[in-house]
């Protein structure tokens, strides 16, 4: 009940006109940037970081909540409407959503995605509201060894589960840890790995790592293999009536709820974030589909949009549970949010609910508000998002470069940061080219220093006895869970690879194949209607 009162107070803060405006702006700009092709939620949050630099902490966090939810949602519009053969399979929504759009059912796909996101986001935020304070209370009792165990869990799950192979994920993690080492060592005050450069004495800001890897690295990579020629956006029929028929709603509501049930728990554990959740939801919907829906899978089944989109947003809220209660980021986006918290001197963790209670509850309240705003904004503004999708690519990527430069320079108003950004960006480009996941590097960069701190605290308590690290039941449980997560994670990835390779799904790598399959799929869909 305590949390309910606190939540109401949070609403009282978040509903003040200026914060409401900030939330609206955050959702709007977050969606607008998230809709831009090639920009995922992590890049959205990283690029828009400079907007928050001059706001007060409450305003900044509310803006962030809006940007976060908007960015998470924006990608679905892109994958449904952008007509790109060879689409990345990581965006599961594209599998069915794109086909629905080609069959003239784009409006229904967008609507089920928007309402599903709203339903899932709201349920997941309710769960967050009631779970987080309890978890925070438990977490206060955790010692440094327990924290170290949690961080190791985050390291290894993120490192081992993201990307095509375990060693590649670990290399990426190691590079991030290496960047985290640069700077002044806390206890003895000496500089490590700064190569004598004074600007490196404060360490490498995580914002530089994130913006460099996501914005600059992605731009360089896309530039190296840019698809030339006109942008093909699938047209959407206008008018409210065509959005969702009664039949669509009947087929969508169960996937919405199932997606939420899958997405939220996966978001809360460090298991790769929304990607894994969307995939699992898609696989579930495909298995559960019967009759007509079953035949439609692979050609535009609405269940295949409704489920994964809900899972995506539920996972987005789930990620906030370990972030707010333990201070542990489990995805790259969460790592960037943590660094934003830190720039205000706020340290997410179990004490946050006591020391900054007003702030946290205003943030949680603004998540509810953000969800409503998303729903209100998105459906009517589809026409605008379509225009955003049409931005000619040279201008789009030139703009990303310009804003990445702004984000780096605005950190300390020092061009050395711009140079660091460029170096990290080149590393990010090479990692994409040679098949390394970049997210573990961001997580390593932010969690590395925390890991060292907790490890050294534990060792100071135990006078150097390593057994102390596994003395508490919590730490033992964490390491056991780690083993379970990694084994099931690898199993899931094998399944995902098998599913992608299975013949009923159109193989996404080859343009020719997609074009050939599209034509009959379109006419088949039209025949049915």
């Amino acid at each position: 009940m305590d949390s309910l009162t606190a939540l109401l107070e949070g609403f009282a803060t978040a509903l003040q006109p200026q914060y409401l405006l900030i939330a609206l702006f955050g959702v709007f700009i977050g969606t607008a940037v998230g809709v831009l092709p090639g920009i995922g939620p992590a890049m959205t949050v990283a690029l828009l970081l400079p907007l928050t630099y001059t706001l007060d902490p409450t305003g900044a966090l509310i803006l962030f909540a809006g940007i976060y939810y908007g960015g998470m949602y924006g990608g679905s519009t892109t994958s449904i409407l952008l007509n790109t053969p060879g689409e990345s399979a990581s965006i599961v929504t594209a599998l069915e959503g794109n086909r629905m759009a080609k069959a003239g059912r784009g409006a229904a796909a967008l609507a089920t995605a928007a309402i599903g996101s709203f339903v899932a986001g709201t349920i997941a935020t309710v769960l967050l509201t009631f779970l987080a304070p309890g978890i925070a209370k438990l977490a206060v009792q955790l010692g440094p060894a327990d924290y170290f165990a949690l961080i190791v869990v985050a390291f290894l799950t993120v490192g081992a589960l993201l990307g095509s192979s375990i060693p590649r994920g670990l290399v990426s993690l190691g590079l991030g840890l290496m960047l985290g080492l640069v700077g002044t060592e806390v206890l003895s005050g000496q500089q490590r790995y700064t190569l004598g450069v004074p600007s490196l004495a404060d360490g490498i800001d995580v914002v530089l790592i994130a913006v460099g890897l996501f914005a600059l690295g992605e731009t360089l990579y896309v530039a190296s293999r840019l698809r030339h020629g006109p942008v093909r956006v699938i047209p959407v029929t206008r008018g409210w009536r065509s959005w969702l028929t009664r039949d669509d709603v009947r087929r969508s509501w169960k996937p919405w709820l199932r997606g939420t049930a899958i997405g939220f728990p996966i978001g809360t554990i460090p298991a790769g974030g929304a990607d894994v959740a969307t995939f699992l939801s898609y696989a579930t919907e495909r298995r559960l589909a019967k009759g007509r829906a079953r035949a439609q899978f692979g050609r535009g089944a609405i269940e295949g949009v409704a489920g994964p989109e809900s899972a995506n947003n539920a996972a987005a809220a789930g990620v906030l549970v370990p972030l707010l209660t333990l201070g542990l980021p489990t995805t790259a986006t969460a790592a960037i949010i943590i660094s934003a918290f830190q720039s205000y001197g706020i340290r997410p963790g179990p004490l946050l609910f006591e020391t900054q209670s007003g702030l946290v509850w205003a943030l949680i309240a603004s998540l509810y508000i953000g969800n409503v705003l998303l729903l209100v904004l998105n459906l009517p503004l589809v026409g605008m998002w379509v225009k955003v999708l049409r931005i000619p690519r040279p201008y789009l990527y030139a703009g990303i470069l310009a804003f990445a430069g702004l984000g780096a320079y605005a950190l300390h108003f020092n061009v050395f940061d711009t140079l660091t950004l460029l170096v990290v960006g080149i590393v990010g480009f090479l990692m994409r080219r040679y098949g390394y996941p970049v997210a573990p590097m961001v997580v390593g960069g932010i969690l590395g220093p925390m890991a060292e701190e907790q490890l050294r605290k534990s060792m100071a308590i135990s006078q150097g006895d390593l057994a102390y690290l596994i003395h508490s039941p919590f730490a033992i449980a964490a390491y056991t869970t780690l083993a379970v997560i990694i084994v099931t994670g690898i199993w899931l990835k094998r399944r995902k690879a098998r599913l992608e390779a299975s013949p009923t799904l159109v193989p996404t790598g080859a343009i020719a194949a997609v074009d050939r399959v599209d034509a009959p799929a379109d006419s088949a869909a039209r025949d049915r209607e």
Partner: protein, 196 residues
Amino acid sequence: MTDSTPVPLGATAPGGIPDQPDPAGGVGRAGRRLAGEVAFAVVSAALGVYAIIGAGFIRVPPGSASVLGPRAFPYAVGVLLVAASVAVVVQIARGRRGVPDDGEDVDPDAPTDWLTVAKLVAIFLSQLVLIEWAGWPIAVAVVFAGAAIVLGARRCWMALLIGLGLGLVTQLVFGAWLGLSLPAGPLLDWIPIFHG
């Protein structure tokens, strides 16, 4: 960290000439890709070695012998990097190659165009000089217009115009309105609203 730059840039040189004209283009391209993939893993391993060697030079304050000193964690990071990079090299040798990222705007059949990447890097480097000498709006205009033209914008003047507009708008919004101290540059500093 800065150690890793020479190799990526060095790798640009052989691929700097666009990939097509080579009669044995397919083979040469695949060979270069393999070499680049191995080189990245080797540089990562070298960074790990650097972490280990560098850790040896960290001073351990006296009286902390029984407690974990400032060297232990860097050693661990170095060992992790070396071990993981070696494992990647072994995987490559066994034929498990890295899969390049997909993306909405990535042409899966296009060869890597190193020249464009090099040009973009050079354009971005111009910020190091331009932001402080010429001011933020002009630096943005150069980066935006340069990048757009390199990426194939149809009309150069359009790119320049949008770039200049973007520079002025960001200067106004972030510099004057939000209060970030972006330098307006000698050309605009006399206008009060740009002065922030």
